[in-house]
Amino acid sequence: MDMSMDFGTAVKNYILEEFLPGENPDDLTEDLPLISGGILDSIATLRMVLHFEEQYGIVLEAHEADKEHLDTIRSIASLLASKVR
């Protein structure tokens, strides 16, 4: 099973519920730039990280909690997949 697929759905649903209420889910694509595109600000990013850390019992290193790793649903999902074993 492709684990990162499931993480992708979880991340997408979380972002839609928390930060994009009422948005058409189809517009939130896997490669949409979230941080550089202004969708998630720093506080929103932090809340998301804390949420998934708690949900999956993982800890992101400081160098992972940056734009490079968290800018798209795809990259967040693969980061989560690499942490959850």
């Binding site: 994009l20 909690a65 940056d66």
Partner: protein
């Protein structure tokens, strides 16, 4: 007239006194001693002079916060020029506007921005000489670019320029209500009088370790960089992205043995809530300074209970004056307290008064606009003489008082000032100034937008919440994602509204102006 001292003379003094001490630390990328920082900034001075920079010029800085960037500040000052730092994460069009607006003579920048800056400048005019660094971090990229330039044609050795008191030291651009940022011009006397005031009040020592949390284009950085280096202390640079992570910040305070912390309240609030401060050894911390916006009392109480030892100062002041009032609050914060702490007394190098709409000084207990005069007050806004004139109240004796636009109340004669709110449409968000009019001007550029009105409201957690109301030219409406991305290309991320609401038309007052009061009710 020459000033007794300049920012770069302070560095030179520390280089002479403490050559082998560490001046700047950049986590994971190295450190630089005072002697090395002195040499590196001397070399940049010589190169800038070689490319044509002269006393009185401006030089742009387009770099992430790094040892390279700190050396660049001093290289520019030593050449007698003013440094103009821009936010490397802000839209390129905005940064190109700033560089062009104040006619920089050269730009020290990271290569990754070159192509797009050149494109932006194509429409504006001739591109100034660029000193292109292969990234920024640890001081290496700046040294390398200077080596390469010297290999082609060595720069002649020059001397540090001794500035006059009113020569500009830096220009910091802040949000402008017309949609374009405006450049606040600060002289060496402005800067040095503030730095010297910090020396008196905070008594920094050479063994202090200062946090550098604020970005370099933000006026909080003046205290971090120039006060630390004046006293031979160590400046610990915190990269911007990491600076938003509260757990990482608590760890950094412990590991880097930070003794003087200065930031906007927002990161301190997050540290109090999520930082596990109790789990880290923050015993070196002796001063916690915050400024830029109101610190929510709830989070301040938590912070003080977790860290009872340091002294806490609430600093207040716009970029135009830097810190102009201060208040020391003594922990613990009482459980019953809900009102924010006062902004305090006027700093000793300045004078202040609160005036009514007729410019008469108000009595204690009455609301008035805070006005500030003295050595720390800016020269004006770059190339905006009318805007500058409007921002000053001039007494009959010729004293120029900067109108802060902030409404305050003096508790009692000789007492503390209490902040009440803004006179205009500016809000503070995460320590940044945001003119709601600048957001509106940005959104008006969207092809579907017919009308836009932006309102801000207090928010117990985030401090302030910004809502944009829009009406459409036709039937089409842009999605939330599209609007956010549109904003991200035109304004810094901290300006993007939290919410967007489409209405059939914006409500109007009887005089056919946008009814902001009604919109606040809808937000």
């Amino acid at each position: 007239m020459t000033v007794l001292c300049s920012l770069h003379q302070y560095l030179a003094d520390s280089v002479a006194l403490y050559p082998s001490r560490i001046a700047v630390v950049e986590a994971g990328r190295g450190a630089i001693s005072y002697a090395q920082l002195g040499t590196l900034s001397d070399r940049l001075r010589d190169r800038l002079v070689a490319v044509g920079v002269r006393p009185g010029d401006r030089v742009g800085m387009y770099l992430r916060k790094s040892i390279d960037a700190v050396a660049t500040i001093y290289g520019i000052l030593k050449a007698g020029a003013a440094y103009v730092p821009v936010d490397p994460d802000a839209p390129l069009s905005r940064n190109a506007y700033i560089m062009h607006n104040c006619a920089v003579k050269a730009v020290v920048m990271e290569k990754r921005f070159e192509d797009r800056l050149a494109t932006e400048f194509f429409a504006l005019g001739e591109l100034p000489p660029l000193l292109l660094l292969d990234g920024a971090g640890g001081g290496g990229p700046l040294a390398t670019v200077l080596d390469e330039a010297d290999a082609k044609l060595p720069a002649a050795k020059t001397k540090n320029v001794e500035p006059r008191a009113d020569d500009l030291a830096y220009i910091l651009y802040t949000s402008g209500s017309t949609g374009k940022p405006k450049g606040v011009m600060l002289s060496h006397e402005n800067a040095v009088s503030f730095v010297d005031w910090c020396s008196e009040v905070f008594e920094p020592q050479a063994d202090d370790r200062f946090s550098s949390h604020a970005p370099l284009h933000f006026d909080l950085s003046i205290l971090d960089v120039h006060v630390a280096l004046k006293h031979g202390a160590c400046l610990v640079l915190i990269p911007e992205e990491r600076g938003k992570d509260p757990l990482h910040m608590a760890k950094l305070i412990a590991e880097e043995k930070i003794s003087i912390w200065y930031s906007a309240p927002s990161i301190l609030s997050l540290m109090a809530q999520f930082g596990d401060l109790g789990g880290h050894d923050c015993s070196a911390l002796r001063l916690v300074l915050f400024a830029g916006e109101v610190f929510p009392v709830k989070h301040l109480r938590t912070l003080c209970s977790q860290l009872p030892k340091p002294r806490y100062f609430n600093l207040y002041g716009p970029t135009e004056t830097n810190v102009c009032t201060y208040y020391e609050l003594v922990p613990p914060v009482p459980e019953a307290r809900t009102a924010p702490y006062p902004i305090g007394k006027v700093c000793e190098h300045l004078r202040g008064k609160a005036v009514d709409e007729h410019n008469a000084v108000v009595k204690p207990g009455e609301e008035g606009e805070l006005c500030i005069t003295g050595r720390g007050v800016m020269q004006g806004y770059w190339s905006l003489p009318e805007r500058t004139a409007e921002s000053f109240l001039v007494d009959e004796d010729g004293t120029r008082w900067y109108r802060t636009g902030d409404i305050v109340v003096l508790e009692s004669a000789g007492g503390d000032y209490i902040y009440r709110g803004r006179r205009d449409r500016m809000v503070k968000r995460r320590g940044y100034r945001v003119e709601l009019g600048e957001i509106e001007a940005g959104l008006y550029q969207h092809p579907l937008v017919k009308e836009v009105a932006v309102v801000a409201q207090p928010d117990p957690d985030a401090g302030v919440r910004i809502t944009a109301f829009l009406s459409s030219k036709g039937a089409g409406k842009a999605s939330l994602i599209e609007l956010k991305r549109f904003c991200a290309e035109r304004m810094p991320l901290y300006m993007i509204p939290d919410r967007f609401t489409w209405l059939d038309g914006l409500p109007k007052t009887s005089t056919d102006k946008t009814d902001y009061q009604q919109l606040k009710g809808l937000a």
